[in-house]
Point group: C3
Chain length 380, copies 3
C-alpha cells in the first residue's frame, strides 16, 4: 500500500505564419507547456491500484485549427485520469473512473510516447474527445494474440456539453468495443506507444466501434429528429528493428457518423456550423478520413542521443467545416525526435502544412497555414 508520484512535461515554442497583426496576416509565436502533468499511482495490493493524473495548461494563442484573438487567465488544474484499476488476471481487468475511451488507437497511444510530434488533430470523438467517466472491461486472450476492450461511459450528457448548452434528447451512455490482433512482441497493456524505439518487433491490427443513441436534435426548435452517433475505426501498427535502423509504419481509418445532422431543419449547433449565427463547430462533428505515419530511427547514436525521423499525412473530409459542406483538410508533417534518455528526456521538432480544400476569404484561421513546433520533454 503505497503512492508513487511522477511529473511529465513538454515545454516549447509554437510558430504559425498567420494570426497576428491587423488582418491576421503576420506570424504568431507562443511559448507554452504542451503538457504539464503531475500524478501518482497508488498500489493497494496485487489486484487493486489507483492512477491519478492532473494536467495544467495556460491558455495558448496558437492552436491546431486557429489562432486565438483573446486569451483568458482562467486556467486551472484538472484531473485528466482518475482510475480505480482491478486486475483479476491478464484476461480480465476492470477500470472505473475517468480514463481514455477506446475509439481510436491513436487516442490510446501515450501522450509522451507518440511517433510524431503529437497524435492526429482530427481523430477526437465529438464529445468527451479523449477521456470520459465510466467503466471498462478488458483483457488479453489466446496467448495474448487477441485483446478485447468494452467500455460504458457518459458520452454526451443530458445536461449538454460545456458552454454550448445545447439541449440533449436523453441521458443514455456511450458504448465502445475494440479488438486487436497482435504478433511478435505483443501489445498487451491498455495504453499503446507510437514507437518502441527499436526495443520491440510489433505487428498489430485493430478495429473499434462506438455508439450512442439520440445524441442530438436535427430540429432543435421543435426538439425532434433525434440523430444517433456511431463511429468505427480500423488501424494497424508495425515496427521492425533492423541492423540498418528501426522502421515504423502505422495508419488508421476513422468514420464518425451523426446521421447527417448538418442537413437537419435546425441542427444542434454544438456539432455543426451555423454560418448565420457565426458558430463553427463542424470540426467536432461528422467526418471520415485516415492518417498514415512513418518513422525511421538511426541505428547508431548521433551525439549523446538517438535520432528518429518521422512524417505523417492526414486527410479528413468533414460533413461541414468552416461553412462548407464536404470540406476536406489535408495535413502534412515531418520532423525528428532526438532521444537523450529515451522518452524521459527528448527534443522534438515538427514542421506542418494545413491545407483546406475550401478556404474562407478574410479569416486567416480558415485558410491554409504552416506551423513549426518544438519542445523539450522531461519525465521524473
Amino acid at each position: 500500500k503505497y503512492l508513487k508520484f511522477f511529473y511529465e512535461g513538454q515545454f516549447g515554442v509554437t510558430m504559425r505564419n498567420t494570426g497576428s497583426g491587423d488582418q491576421g496576416e503576420d506570424d504568431t509565436a507562443d511559448f507554452n507547456f504542451r503538457r504539464n502533468r503531475f500524478g501518482f499511482i497508488g498500489t493497494y495490493n496485487d489486484k487493486l491500484s489507483f492512477y491519478l493524473q492532473t494536467e495544467y495548461l495556460d491558455d495558448k494563442a496558437v492552436n491546431p485549427l486557429g489562432v486565438k484573438d483573446s486569451l483568458t487567465d482562467d486556467e486551472n488544474f484538472y484531473v485528466l485520469d482518475a482510475q480505480i484499476r482491478y486486475a483479476q488476471n491478464n484476461a480480465f481487468n476492470v477500470t472505473l473512473g475517468k480514463f481514455k475511451h477506446n475509439l481510436t488507437r491513436e487516442n490510446l497511444e501515450g501522450c509522451f510516447t507518440p511517433l510524431n510530434f503529437d497524435r492526429s488533430l482530427f481523430v477526437a470523438a465529438p464529445f468527451k474527445t479523449s477521456r470520459d467517466y465510466g467503466v471498462a472491461v478488458w483483457g488479453n486472450l489466446a496467448d495474448d494474440y487477441l485483446q478485447y476492450r468494452l467500455d460504458v461511459m457518459e458520452g454526451r450528457e443530458s445536461g449538454g456539453e460545456g458552454d454550448e448548452g445545447s439541449y440533449v434528447p436523453n441521458s443514455g451512455f456511450r458504448y465502445t468495443g475494440r479488438l486487436h490482433f497482435t504478433m511478435f512482441d505483443k501489445e498487451t497493456g491498455y495504453g499503446y506507444q507510437g514507437s518502441y524505439l527499436g526495443e520491440k518487433k510489433v505487428l498489430t491490427v485493430g478495429g473499434s466501434y462506438q455508439y450512442e443513441a439520440d445524441v442530438a436534435y436535427g430540429d432543435t426548435t421543435n426538439r425532434t429528429d433525434e440523430v444517433d452517433y456511431s463511429a468505427y475505426s480500423l488501424d494497424f501498427f508495425a515496427e521492425m528493428p533492423t541492423a540498418a535502423g528501426t522502421f515504423t509504419l502505422s495508419g488508421a481509418y476513422l468514420d464518425i457518423d451523426l446521421d447527417d445532422l448538418h442537413k437537419g431543419a435546425d441542427p444542434d449547433s454544438a456539432l455543426t456550423d451555423n454560418v448565420a449565427a457565426g458558430t463553427f463547430n463542424g470540426a467536432n462533428g461528422q467526418r471520415e478520413g485516415y492518417y498514415v505515419k512513418a518513422g525511421y530511427m538511426l541505428p547508431m547514436n548521433v551525439g549523446p542521443g538517438k535520432l528518429q525521423l518521422f512524417g505523417r499525412y492526414d486527410s479528413f473530409e468533414y460533413a461541414m467545416l468552416n461553412g462548407y459542406t464536404d470540406n476536406t483538410v489535408d495535413f502534412y508533417a515531418f520532423g525528428a525526435n532526438y532521444y537523450l534518455a529515451g522518452n524521459d528526456i527528448k527534443i522534438v521538432g515538427q514542421y506542418s502544412i494545413t491545407d483546406f480544400d475550401e478556404e474562407v476569404g478574410a479569416d486567416t484561421n480558415k485558410q491554409d497555414y504552416d506551423t513549426f513546433e518544438m519542445f523539450l520533454q522531461v519525465r521524473f
Copy 2:
C-alpha cells in the same frame, strides 16, 4: 519534519427517475466521482502540524435537489481543508486556516466514514456551508468526558457569497460554540465518525450554537432591516457492539434562524425565494428540522467483507422553498455498506425518496423523486 500523502475517492453512479427528456420526465443516469481528494499531512514536530486536502469534482447532472439542464466544463481543484494545527495538549488545541465549522455533528463526521451513503442534505449552514476560514480553539476536559470547541470564522463576507453578489450589511465574523459529553470509548478528536464499525462503544450527546450579526438586508432596495443569523443544534450518537452485531443510532435537531428574512419588504434573494425574478435560494435559508439514522452491522463476515445495513429519515421545514412558505421536505433512505477493508475499500448503495409537502407543477426538480446511488470507495 515530514510530509505524508493520501488519496481518497468515491466513484459510482447516480440515477434519478426524473430530469431528462423533453419534459424532464425521463430517468437520468450519471457516472461521477462523489469525492476525489488528494492531500497531505505535514508534521513539523510534536505540537505543530499542517493538513491540506484538495477536492476535484467534475460537474454532475444529478444533484441532491435537482437535475441540471446544462453542465459546465469549468471544473477545478480546490482546497477543501488547509489547517495549521497547534496542539498544546489534550485540553488546548488551536487550528488556523480553512476547515469545518462546528454547527452540526453530521458536518463534523468524516466524509469517508458516514453511517449512511452520505450526510444529511439539509443541514448545511446558509453560507460557508461546511468549511470556512478562521480560527478554532478546542480541547477535552474532565478525563475526556467533556469536549469544548469555539471558532471565529468569516461567515458571510462583506463582498457577498459567490455569484449572488448580494450586498451584505457588514464585514463581521461568525461565531460558533459547541460542547459534547461522551461516555465509554470517548470521542476526543475534531472529527467524528458515523460508525466505528464495532470497534468502539460510544454514547455522545452534544449541542452547538452559531451566530453572526447583520448578515442580510430584509429590504435590499433601501439597505435597511438588517437581519441576524443564529442557529443551534442538539445531537446524540450511540453505537453498541454486541455478539449479535453492532447497533448504531444517531439523530439531531437543527434550527436555522434569519429573523424571518423572507417576510422582508425586498429580502436578500441569496437566502430566500423571489418567485417573480425566478430565483429560488430558499433552500439556503431559514429552516428547522431533524434527522434520525440507524445502522446494524452483521457480526460475521459476508463473503470477504462486512455488511452494514442502514436507514435514515430527515424532515425539514423551510421558511420558503420552491416558492411556498413553510414547505417541508421528507427524505427517506435505506441501503447498505459493504466493507472489504474497513473504510479503505467499501461499496455503498442507497435508495432514497425525496418528498416535498408542496409540489410545483411543471418542474420535475420541484416534485417528488426517487434516487439510487452506488459507489466504490478507496483510500490510499
Copy 3:
C-alpha cells in the same frame, strides 16, 4: 532521479479602515491565506532538474488597492512556477518554462523571505506581472562578483491579456537583461532574499532593463499609434550583521514607460484609465517611483524567537491613476517579523498607510486608507 515535495503557507488576517457598510466607510476584516503553495523539485541528475510550484488562493475582500464589492467562489490552483533547469556550470545556466522575469530585484526576492510584510505593491510589470513563459540564461562571473541574466519571454501576448481582450498589435516577445555586482558574502542564485537574518554580510547593486515593441495601440479605434514598452530599474541591497544586531537597508528606482499611451486618441484601456467608460487600469501602466526599506534584527533572542523590526516607504507617480494624470501614491509601513524557526515558522505584522495625492470623492477605494495585516508562516 527523485522528487522532493514541499508546502509553504501564510495564513492570517487583513483589516482595512474602509470598504464595508452602506457607503464603504466601515472597517473590513478578512481571514485569508496570503500564500498557499505546494510543489516539488525533481532532480534528474547533476545538471538537469525540475521545479514546480502551485498556488491556491480564495478570493479576498481586502486587496492592496481596494476592497472588493463582490467575491467569487471561482478559485483554483494554478501553476506559479514550472521550470526545467539546466546547470552547465556556475557561469552558465538555462531555465525553460514559467518563472520570474528579471525586471526588479524585489520581484526576485523570495515570497517567503522578504524583509517586510511583503514586496512593494507598485513594482509589478504591466503584463505578466511577476512570472512569464520563456527562456532565461544566467550565471556568475569574475569570482561571483558579477551576475548576468537574460530572458526572452511572452510579455504581452497577441491575444491580449486576461479579461481585457484588448487587441494587441503583434506577437513579439519581451526581452529583459539584468546585471548585478555583489561583495562580501555574494548573492549567486536566481532568487534573492529580503534579509539573510544575520547569517550573511552582503552588499549588492544591480540594474535591469526590459523591452517589448508595439505592445498597445494609442488609437485602438483605428489600430494605429503603436507604443513600445520599456522599463528599467536600479537597486541596492546591504545587510550587515554586528554585535548590536543586524542592519538591513535596500532600495530601488523603477521607471515604466509606455510612450505616454494615456495621451493617445483612444488608448488601450487595459493599461490606462477611461473615466467615461468606468475602467480604471492606469495602475497597470506607465509610472515611475522608488522604495526604500530598512530592518533591524535584535542580537539576542526575544522569548523563543528572534525579533526583526522593519519599515518601508514607497512613492510612485502614475501617468494616470483613479482618473487623475500624474497622480502619486505614497505608502508608509512599519512592523515586525518574529522568527520562531527562521523563515520556516514566523509571525509577521504590519501597519500601513496608503496616501493618494489626488483623492476621489465618493469611492473609499480611491481615498487614503490604513491597513493592518498579520500572518503566521509555515514551511514544510
